[in-house]
């Protein structure tokens, strides 16, 4: 601070002190306007907050609803039902073609030989000659 600043400080201090003591105060109308703005803005993001709190600590029904919608709702349930019915039907009455594959799946097949090198199928006739 300059010398001038040092000399001025005490004199200006009285003015600054008076200004601090007589700070203009908002009236009730201004407080009301500011609060009205706060309410309006808060209303804009209140639904998101409410949904979040319901999901976090809401009722059992709310949580089940959340799971239901996460799974896709009724459309996905229709597909799931059709797949279930088809699976049960295959279990009860398997098609005849399934009989050749079934032993592989169940492990009841006697002997299964799988040629890992299909090219031998072409060599065998030549060897036989």
């Amino acid at each position: 601070m300059t010398d001038a600043g040092k000399n001025d400080a005490p004199a200006l201090g009285a003015f600054f002190a008076a200004a601090k003591a007589r700070a203009p105060q908002p009236d009730t109308a201004l407080f009301a306007r500011v609060m009205a703005d706060a309410d309006a803005v808060q209303a804009g993001f209140a639904p998101a907050s409410a949904a979040t709190s319901e999901a976090r600590g809401g009722t059992l029904r709310a949580r089940l609803d959340l799971i239901w919608h996460a799974l896709g709702g009724w459309p996905s349930m229709a597909g799931l039902s059709a797949a279930t019915v088809a699976g049960i039907w295959l279990g009860v009455s398997p098609p005849t073609a399934l009989g050749t594959v079934a032993p592989l799946l169940t492990g009841r097949a006697e002997t299964v030989v799988i040629d890992a090198e299909p090219v031998t199928a072409y060599l065998l006739p030549e060897e036989a000659m």
Partner: protein
């Protein structure tokens, strides 16, 4: 209206609660910050009605930014003072020039005796008129430092300048105020 009942909570904590839908936090912030914002705007503009508009606008911007507020980056008051300064600058530019006030409105007062009250009021008016005559940045620096009593590092943050620049602005501003007010030393009790 009751006084701010959440004095144990920081501005930043209240703002977070406001963003979560807490209306009590909104009221506490309104009561706590509106006087500061309006007082600062009044000292930068010198007109009460405009200062009230600026205060409302600054608080509205605070409400809107609340959900995105990142704690720890800046103090709420620092941010608000910066917003007020920008809004006041825009207002002054729209005016085209800094208006010198012929008469500053008298705030209601019930302090001290009549003579003391008269001198105090005269000092406030004279200071405001002298502040109005300062270049905008000097006025802002002096008001923040000597009336709002904010430290130079925070003023530097508010104004977006270095601490050295703040010191320079306040020193030049105070010199200009001294010159302006010393001419009224008899009426105002200005003692050098």
């Amino acid at each position: 209206m009751p006084l701010d009942a959440m004095t144990d909570q920081s501005d930043e904590a209240l703002l977070r609660r406001f963003a979560q839908g807490d209306r009590a936090a909104a009221r506490a912030l309104t009561l706590r910050l509106t006087p500061k914002v309006m007082g600062h705007a009044y000292r930068l503009l010198g007109q009460r009605e405009e200062a009230e508009d600026i205060a409302q606008e600054a608080m509205l911007r605070l409400w809107r930014i609340a959900p995105e507020w990142r704690e720890g980056e800046a103090r709420v008051t620092t941010w608000l003072y910066r917003v007020v300064a920008n809004l006041c600058t825009d207002r002054l530019r729209r005016r085209g020039r800094i208006t010198l006030l012929d008469k500053v409105p008298d705030p209601p007062d019930d302090r001290g005796g009549p003579a003391q009250d008269m001198q105090s009021r005269a000092r406030v008016d004279a200071l405001q008129n002298a502040l109005n005559a300062l270049p905008e940045r000097q006025r802002q620096a002096v008001v923040l430092r000597h009336i709002e009593e904010i430290g130079n590092p925070e003023i530097a943050e508010i104004m977006g300048i270095s601490v050295e620049a703040v010191e320079s602005l306040t020193a030049r501003g105070k010199r200009a105020l001294s010159v302006a007010l010393s001419s009224k030393r008899d009426a105002l009790g200005y003692v050098e």
